[in-house]
Point group: C2
Chain length 330, copies 2
């Protein structure tokens, strides 16, 4: 971390920046919450959130055809239930919302508390818990299925459907179809100073790779000595094949996410290696994006998300968004 | 550098990635050159290029309302004159082009050689040499005025004007107005392994900042111990004020460019600090972008570009582009 004022002001400094670069966001006073100011309360709002330190998630995806609002907590800590409730109330008068939650124990707890409260006061709420991380071993399947960058693909599809006027039941149904078809593996090359102060440390040596890490520095499934890009890509595609059990000619969307400190040359090299290995598997990949979608502040790493496409999902992914961080380029 | 196959394949690996993520680009066979496949030869093509290692420059800005074609050399080395000529011929049958060249000695030499050759065989060519770097001391003014990320703003405006059907003379005239109004200062926090192998090394300690560096690791104007973001921003705004001699209420565009290894939180913090200091100067800033525009592979740093806006330049900056790396978000 090279650019900051005080460690204590990291979040408020980031928020000052957000308000400057994304003026279409309406700040929810007193918290790290943003609402799409173009939202007219005619369709169901889609809300997501989690810890800070993963920018441009989630505020960067607030805008037409993606999220309606975001709520962020402290660094690597989810918001409080009261903050989630405050954002929901700031978004809509219609007492209804769809939440997209990442599968981290603390995140799930606070969002469920907020949802329970809102339901008790008469709100209609549905939600999906994204558990795209497949860095699992058989004995700890539940523990390791965290919410990672695959969340962004789900937010895009659900956000687009919400804007089309779909019902809560419809959104819930599509989300439940999307969840098992969205899989991610991350890998890290370095810890960060900030992790070392928090509960996690990856204890990585200078030339180590750690496959399967989480975005708060949670342990992965295997530590190895550095390998060339193609071999890293092969490890990830092998894991994906085992999990997806895909058939030739299936359509998938691919998101290669820069967790941090990876140059464009590296992003492109890795995207090419992953894509070519998936094509060797006989898959069609009509949607490929690379860039910084869900980072982990001050860490070096990359993640690969694959979504097995069904029906109209590709069309929804391709709809432009007015949010800050979705790449609308052709 | 963590993700690569072989150092020798860095460029071809990057090109494999480009062809996957930006399928609207037509590759010029045998070289690192790309042409906007939507170009219909009805307006004057705008071509830029330089060394590799600065991705997404320049290929990422090839598309409607920006560049028509790009040509890239080896790592931190410009293309050869024959490669520039080959790209120009691949772009247009109409023997006319506008070149945007960054002010590095080798770049200027090869582009001028190519332009001389093309003019000798009957082409109409105009060009601009971007020298936005103001990291100068009085005695070496010429030497240090390199072409940096301000080039991107000039490419946007000239590319939009070209697409509107402006003549070569018009493009030249606007470019000459833009050049003195576009100023950049970069700063680096680290050298890269690749620099150390090439002719430049910044010799930076772990907690050093080097103000005024170039994107190939050229020396800056002052090395200092790390400071907080606001003080770094102040140093840059002070240099800008001395160079621009701006008046209150002038309009400027601001581009905060991630040279590499800076997280979104850091980009946003720095953007906020720079913006607020410029506002304290009484300036209006109707255009602000931050992100990775012109990187320096495997280096840690950031740069600030300011363009004093005139006439319709803001409108041209705001026109969407179909290129890969221009942020079309609102």
């Amino acid at each position: 971390m090279k650019i900051y004022n005080f460690e204590d002001s990291l979040l408020t400094d980031t928020q000052r920046g957000i308000e400057i670069v994304a003026p279409h966001l309406k700040k929810v006073e007193g918290i790290y919450g943003y609402v799409d100011s173009s939202f007219d309360d005619s369709y169901i709002p889609v809300i997501s959130g989690g810890g800070a330190g993963h920018e441009p998630s989630d505020w960067g995806f607030v805008g037409g055809n993606m999220l309606t609002a975001s709520i962020t907590g402290k660094l690597f800590e989810p918001p409080m239930p009261e903050e989630i409730i405050k954002v929901a109330k700031a978004v809509t008068k219609k007492k209804r919302a769809f939440f997209i939650i990442k599968n981290f124990e603390k995140d799930v707890r606070v969002f469920k508390q907020a949802i329970e409260y809102l339901r008790n006061i008469g709100w209609s709420i549905e939600y999906g818990i994204v558990n795209d991380d497949i860095s699992v071993d058989a004995s700890s399947l539940r523990k390791y299925r965290r919410g990672l960058a695959g969340t962004i693909l789900i937010e895009k599809i659900i956000g687009t459907l919400a804007k089309k006027g779909k019902s809560l039941v419809d959104l819930k149904m599509v989300c439940e179809q999307l969840l098992p078809e969205t899989k991610t593996i991350g890998l890290a090359f370095s810890d960060s100073i900030l992790y070392k102060k928090s509960c996690h440390t990856l204890s990585l040596g200078k030339d180590d790779i750690y496959y399967g890490i989480g975005i708060h520095g949670e342990a992965g499934y295997r530590k190895e000595h550095w390998q060339k890009s193609e071999l890293m890509a092969r490890e990830i595609v092998n894991k994906m094949r085992l999990n997806f059990r895909w058939q030739k000619k299936e359509n998938v969307a691919l998101l290669v996410n820069n967790i941090g400190k990876i140059s464009p040359m590296e992003e492109l090299t890795f995207t090419a290696d992953i894509t070519e290995l998936l094509e060797l598997e006989g898959l069609n990949i009509p949607f490929i994006k690379t860039g910084s979608f869900m980072t982990s502040h001050d860490m070096s790493g990359i993640s690969v998300s694959i979504l097995r496409l069904q029906d109209k999902w590709l069309e929804y992914l391709k709809q432009p968004s007015t949010c800050y961080a979705w790449p609308n380029s052709i």
